[in-house]
């Protein structure tokens, strides 16, 4: 096993460097094929997103993969990498495994738990496979990374809480109404933000949409886009009682919805809850409206607080996720290591068996007058000697499995016993 990773990410390199090093998806196949055709490289994967560029390889045991990747990047970008060298991190062996697991699980992302990275890794993996650059250890590790990411998603709430303002509004609506099926949204004052929030609410199941705006034409336009109904601004209050969720973002200098009005709405609605998302500044909904039972008013700052709390929640979940990663890394390393060691053990046994068989053959003539019983004894004797000799090296190989020093040990054993040639 000889895994190497060279990369930059949003923490180590500014955006200018990241975009300079970026390898666009269209050129990925060609790039990865160039990479694995370099001498000594068996497998390779290139992960290039807006937050990271990482090149991972699995190479022949004695190969210095780092400088090969280095040269590859320099060639690919036609530049001297020296000026960027200090932005790069270099990882080897188990650190590569751990890093890939963390990246796939979105623990290394700018926004903890964001889901896109998994898709990006899948794409990078597919490109490598298509280029024939995935067929051994790295293939195993990346597959395992995808499985670990799924496990993290399943067993922690790392990606569950909303970390953007518009999704926070959807999340809050769900905390109030359960599902959003059949709920009516009223957009008061058409704006980019309210449009985005409405879009998220609709895709979460909300069905009816009403739009009102001071300029009626704009309301009609937006209502058409959402297959909703436009309401003239003068009739706003008449239709407000239909709405379960009101997204308000007018440019009005004063509040347009006050406590009295909402009290009336509530009695018209038989106290069914209402959720006001007030993203206007200055605010459209009088904050005292929130004091009413069954009414929830969130202004833009409140949504921000929810996002902050959710981010902290994700950080807490990340601790559980790291534990899972740690466990999975150990498991994978053990498996890879034994896989690494098994061929050596088999070769060693073969070698000694071969010597034994050859010697037995050579002494065939002189042992010819032995009885069958004596012959069996000689056979057992030589086999016993062989096993005793094997015992030390095999135990040593197995116990050191997964340690980086083991590579040296494997090499030493190959050399001493003349294996592999």
């Amino acid at each position: 096993m000889n895994l190497t990773l060279l990369g930059i990410n949003h923490r180590t390199a500014p955006v200018e460097v990241r975009e300079r090093m970026n390898i666009p998806e269209a050129r990925l196949a060609e790039a990865v094929s160039d990479l694995v055709h370099r001498a000594g490289i068996r497998e390779g994967m290139i992960l290039s997103t807006c937050n990271r560029v990482e090149v991972t390889t699995s190479a022949e045991d004695e190969v210095d993969a780092e400088s090969i990747i280095h040269r590859f990047l320099a060639d690919h970008h036609h530049c001297d990498l020296g000026q960027f060298a200090h932005f790069f991190y270099r990882l080897r062996q188990q650190d590569v495994v751990k890093h890939l697991f963390r990246v796939a699980s979105s623990l290394d992302s700018m926004i903890l738990g964001e889901p896109q990275i998994l898709g990006q890794i899948k794409k990078a993996y597919a490109a490598s496979r298509a280029a024939g650059a995935m067929n051994g250890t790295l293939n195993d590790v990346v597959n395992q990374a995808l499985a670990v990411a799924k496990r993290v998603r399943r067993e922690t709430a790392l990606g569950s809480a909303a970390v953007s303002v518009s999704y926070a509004a959807v999340e809050l609506a769900k905390k109030i109404f359960g599902g959003l099926q059949g709920k009516t949204i009223f957009i008061v004052g058409a704006g980019k933000m309210s449009e985005l929030a409405a879009k998220h609410l609709l895709s979460s199941g909300a069905s009816n949409i009403l739009v009102s705006n001071r300029t009626y034409d704009r309301a009609v336009e937006l209502a058409a886009a959402f297959h909703g109904t436009a309401v003239p601004f003068e009739h706003l209050y008449k239709h407000l009682s239909q709405a379960d969720i009101v997204i308000s973002s007018t440019g009005s200098p004063q509040t347009i919805i006050n406590k009295n009005q909402v009290e009336k709405l509530l009695s018209a609605r038989k106290n069914r809850p209402i959720f006001f998302v007030d993203i206007a500044v200055p605010r459209d909904v009088d904050p005292t409206v929130n004091e009413l039972d069954n009414v929830f008013v969130y202004d833009i700052d409140d949504l921000g607080h929810v996002v902050e709390a959710n981010k902290k929640q994700r950080e807490r979940e990340a601790i559980w996720a790291e534990e899972i990663i740690q466990m999975e890394v150990q498991k994978t390393l053990r498996r890879l290591a034994s896989r690494d060691v098994v061929p050596t053990i088999v070769a060693l046994e073969d070698r000694l068996n071969h010597i034994r068989a050859a010697e037995m053959e050579r002494y065939q003539g002189r042992l010819g007058n032995l009885t069958a019983e004596q012959r069996q004894a000689v056979d057992a004797l030589t086999r016993g000697i062989m096993n005793k000799i094997l015992h030390g090296p095999i135990t040593e190989l197995k116990s050191g499995a997964g340690e980086p020093e083991n590579v040296a040990l494997v090499r030493l054993i190959h050399k001493i016993f003349g294996l592999g040639d």
Partner: protein, 276 residues
Amino acid sequence: MHDACVWTALAFYALGISLIVPSVVRRRPSLSPASLGALGIGLAAHAAALAIEAARLHRLPVTDVRSALSFYAFLVTLAFFFVYLRYRIVSLGLFMLPLVFLLTLISALHPASSFDSSAFRGGWLLVHISSIFLGYTALFLTFVAAIMYLIQERELKSKQPRGFYYRLPSLKVCEELYYRSLVLGLPFLSIGILTGFIWASRTWKGPWELDPKILASMVTWLIYLVLFSTRVSGGWRGRRAAYIAIFGFAAILVTFVGISLLSGEHGYIPKLREIP
């Protein structure tokens, strides 16, 4: 044998409850098979204990404090399973099951009474007792849903989500659970009280209407009636209704436990006058 079963149930309940804690803390989408398994074994052992007791007494084992508490705890656990399977609320167990543990523990520590009254075999009384118990079970659920509602509502009103925000179900689900259990509980309570009246008027001598437990249960019934009718007429839901539900369950506790311990016909040491 009975005691062994009760203690087994108690041990598995404790195990089950403690296994729920990590699932809640880690916000898992469902309870672990281990905790459900432990609670299931607890429930089975509990059922066995009740069956043994019923066989011994030849009737529903609810004739003294010990068996009544045990039976109620059993029903609450059963209700937990039903609600969990329907709603998958992971944190629900932590709201419902500590009571189960407590009641079972009190029941296990309480000495068995040797009291035996043939009056408890009457048909009316059987209906009375089982309806009341089913009603109390459903209304406990109403109480739990009201508490969960209030906590979640506070989280949402405060605009500073803390631990409960992530771990309790939506207001909608709390409200639904609350209303459904109320709709289920109120008829049972009504039947229970009505059959109680019939039975008392037939068997008791003297002014049975003034028995403190009967008065208390009338008050309880009125509270729930108000809760139900205001909800149906469309007025009250949310926080206000939740407060009344909690108040109603407090009234149940007074009726069920408080007055039973005081005195009277329902003291489980009945001073039954002449049985006709």
